[in-house]
Symmetry: C2
Subunit: 556 residues, 2 copies
């Protein structure tokens, strides 16, 4: 370590939430550190807080301002919360992207989709292969997770070694990909780990994690015992699970058909990149139409109840020629993410109405998590013996608990949420500064700031309805014709029984007839007066205060 | 039983959902049956499907059409999903309301709130007291649930005895109210039960239910071990739980303060009606400000994360002079209802940021359900030995499972969802007809139909934004002045960098200048042309198709 150079860590997303991961590391003189970015993901919107939004990304304004200091982007794995914003932000960052083969395949497609050059992605082999990026040397250590080729990063810096776990579990038999290899990790820890930046998702789960391979026998038994058609859903990117499901279908003498675009794409990508081998033969949905239902197994998208995915479509009726019926079975080989419960339950009840037997996520027999639980995380701490453990990838409560667990074992730790810059140069993490954290929304083709007021207006219209009132004034600033009102998202008539639009028009007309000249010439005064008229009418008639837009047209 | 009279059952709400319970029973010649209504509740809205709505009620149009045949309304207990619509619908029903004392107190207030006479509620004592209503004789049998004085109804009819469970659990020590009394139930079953209409909420919970009284020691231990202020939340109507919490506070030497209007009101109502006795002394929130935090216990509203309740307010900062801090504890003595997960987690994380230790609902140590689990329901079937079991109070999947459980034991059963009229006269339930089921929304002060399109418009504005375009035509149907556009809930500028409103105005102006006279004179053609112009601009600029309102003002 030379002079006053320092090692910094700055989460821009993912620290204080599960989603939109984006972690910056830097080395150099304060304000002049050379930087690398680990992951660049998205979060999914919801109707409560982000109606109509397509995707949510971390606000990376700070990184864009300092883009001349950015040497590389590393992607740990291909889940959307780690890779989803790569194509959207790359034009502002223009740094080389490093990933392993399967992840790189997905990353290249992300760039291509948004008009950037996929050749910006270079594929890196597994550890001990490394890449140099400014003052950093970075290697990809295979870990198991719920997508192939997830990796932890070993980031060697002039201040020592950082191990950034990415998303991981300690799985000795992950079905697809490399098993957890304690010896390899021991070797990596051998020369001393300064910082372990560590997944916190499952810190509240007290029992040890279970291996992906424990599910095979359960799923096989379930499929073997089914009468009619058997349909299963899971995340398409959980290729190991898809394989386990397909094998259970094959073993039960069923033809296997994959449905939903993401499902077909992921299995293809995993096969092409060599991470998935020996996948049972599959048939197309056209071929499936001719297979007797007791000989058929569908593996479909939509485990979170997404409205347009295969599962939801099947619950509403026909999907690509397939239709579920009394005696069929449907397996959710997945966990419902908080916030999606209502959508999933709606589907389960629709299946119930069709007479389909649903096996959901409560039994624990047909799904395991892709994240390390508390005992596994403690084992990892023990194995790595880091000087510091920085919890990442979790809501605040998870980071806080994870830091407590580490501190209890004598490992220095602290909660650093999005925007908190830590100095990791010394023996303990020190807060070195704050960057304004934030969220950016992809809305249609535009990026809009979370605080721009656009979404606030949408929520207000959704809660209160919208009234538009149009008035015309002539060259002498006298009302011309009658005011015109349109209402949207409100009852047409209220307590009086007269259409509300008519009442508003009448009251607005009277207001304008009574109004003094100095109000009629002043757009602002006229608008606020008319707005008040609208709200008086609606409060009296229907007990609501809608959003109001007044259009004043002056012919002068 | 005489001639062709029949016994019917018609759920209008609550069968196929958890919420808005409303069950009709009738006896008489087909189409002329005398009717009684059991419960009249609400469901709570959500942003996904019912933004801005205040309450959701069953569509009781059928009952209103046949209101001359309605002899009485019975309310089993005071939860909003059983009593919440009483005040709103009573003016259309005008039938006498029967309930036990505590429930009657709440029912009278519901009538009063909506301008009806609270004296319409008559209080009935517990079984063996009964009330006559047309051909029915009805008694209230005490059951335990998560609110005082919940009751099952024994409905004696010319066709035999119906036992309508209401919401219940089999609790031998419910802390407040009467314990489950198997002997009493045995006696009720003694003369033969024709129909058991039965709560299905917890049919998927495989273990036997636990008594409310099992929580006392756990909660006492938790409070005794706390350092700072101790705050607990639960449903205000769960008066037994509130008492257990308050006793734990008192036993730990803490002053107890109730916060949140519902909390104060419920404890008062329960005390006044005599169902709650020996409640520990409480202090006001003004007095609480002077108590050292380690000597204070707050019991507050808002266990479901409701934005304006005490819990949410405390998570955001000060509430009535109270403010949580590092070292304080917060207990959710409650279960998060599906759909509320995100709101509750937002609060838990906000507490985490304040350094407050949160004990949530995962441990099972500090909350028990108020509904009978599968083994308890089977025990009840066994005890009642009904000829038929009709599952109610549950989502479709719950009703279906419950019917399977009964059929497996040789009890005739069937799934009857809202709108399905059953004939219960014979040995098995037979479908006798269908009534169009539906939902009515209370929106402000108005009732609107779920299919009126009002809420659909709100959702569309929330997803797509709203553009208003105003144009004026003169006496000759020629454009006068320039078109005027206002946008709401959309980015102000798109890909070109020019404000979208300006682009729309320019394009709309050109469209009108180019438009043939026959378009300009035709409101419909002009509107659809302008609408197309708006969408072309927005799709090109921001990739979205907003809702569009066109206002055409003609001076002619």
């Amino acid at each position: 370590m030379s002079g006053n150079e320092r090692l910094i860590y700055l989460p821009l997303g993912g620290a204080g939430e599960v989603g939109m991961n984006a972690y910056v590391y830097g080395w150099g003189k304060p304000g002049k550190e050379r930087l690398i970015l680990v992951d660049l993901g998205v979060t999914f919107p919801d109707m409560d807080t982000t109606p109509g939004v397509d995707l949510i990304m971390a606000d990376i304004a700070w990184l864009v301002e300092n883009v001349d200091r950015l040497d590389a982007i590393f992607i740990t794995h291909g889940h959307e919360d780690h890779i989803g914003a790569l194509g959207l932000f790359w034009p502002e960052l223009k740094a080389p992207v490093h990933a392993r083969r399967f992840t790189g395949h997905l990353a290249a497609r992300k760039l291509e989709e948004r008009g950037s050059d996929p050749a910006q992605v270079s594929v890196v082999g597994a550890w001990p292969e490394t890449v140099e990026a400014g003052p950093f040397r970075v290697g990809f250590v295979p870990v198991s997770h719920s997508i192939p080729e997830s990796s932890a990063l070993v980031i060697d810096t002039p201040a020592g070694r950082i191990v950034h776990t990415g998303d991981l579990k300690l799985d000795g038999a992950p079905v697809v990909g490399e098993p957890f290899d304690p010896e390899l990790w021991h070797e990596i820890a051998g020369s001393g780990v300064k910082v372990l930046t560590c997944d916190s998702t499952n810190i509240f789960v007290e029992r040890p994690g279970r291996s992906e391979s424990t599910l095979g026998p359960n799923i096989r038994e379930l499929v073997a015992g089914a009468r009619g058609m058997f349909v299963a859903t899971t995340f398409a990117s959980n290729v190991a699970r898809v394989k386990t499901l397909a094998e259970a279908g094959r073993d039960a003498g069923r033809s296997v058909c994959l449905m939903g675009r993401a499902m077909l794409r992921m299995v293809q990508a995993a096969t092409e990149t060599g991470v998935l081998t020996d996948f049972p033969p599959v048939i197309t949905h056209e071929e499936a139409e001719d297979v007797p239902r007791q000989n058929l197994m569908l593996i479909v998208t939509g485990s979170q109840g997404e409205r347009r995915a295969a599962t939801a479509q099947l619950s509403r009726g026909k999907y690509l020629g397939m239709e579920l019926a009394e005696g069929d079975s449907f397996l959710f080989s997945s966990k419902t993410i908080p916030g999606n419960e209502r959508s999933v339950l709606r589907i389960v009840n629709a299946f119930s109405e069709l007479g389909v037997d649903v096996v959901d996520d409560r039994s624990d027999l047909y799904h395991v998590s892709g994240h390390a639980n508390r005992p596994d995380l403690e084992a990892l701490h023990e194995l790595m013996k880091p000087q510091m453990m920085i919890p990442m990838h979790g809501e605040h409560r998870m980071l806080r608990r994870h830091a407590e667990v580490a501190e209890a074992k004598g490992i220095a730790s602290c909660v650093a949420v999005n925007g908190t810059m830590l100095d990791l140069t010394g023996d303990r993490p020190e807060v070195a500064g704050h960057v304004e954290p934030g969220r950016v929304y992809l809305d249609g083709t535009m990026k809009i700031g979370a605080l721009d007021g656009v979404i606030r207006d949408r929520i207000r219209m959704a809660l209160n309805g919208h009234v538009m009132l149009s008035v015309i004034l002539d060259e002498e600033d006298e009302p011309l014709g009658d005011p015109w009102a349109e209402i949207m998202g409100l009852a047409e008539t209220g307590s009086s029984g007269t259409p509300i639009a008519e009442l508003i028009e009448a009251e607005a007309g009277q207001f304008m007839a009574r109004a003094a000249g100095k109000i009629l010439v002043d757009d602002e005064k006229l608008e606020s007066g008319l707005r008040r008229v609208v709200r008086q009418v609606t409060v009296e008639e229907i007990g609501k205060k809608p959003e109001v837009t007044v259009v004043i047209s002056r012919l002068g």
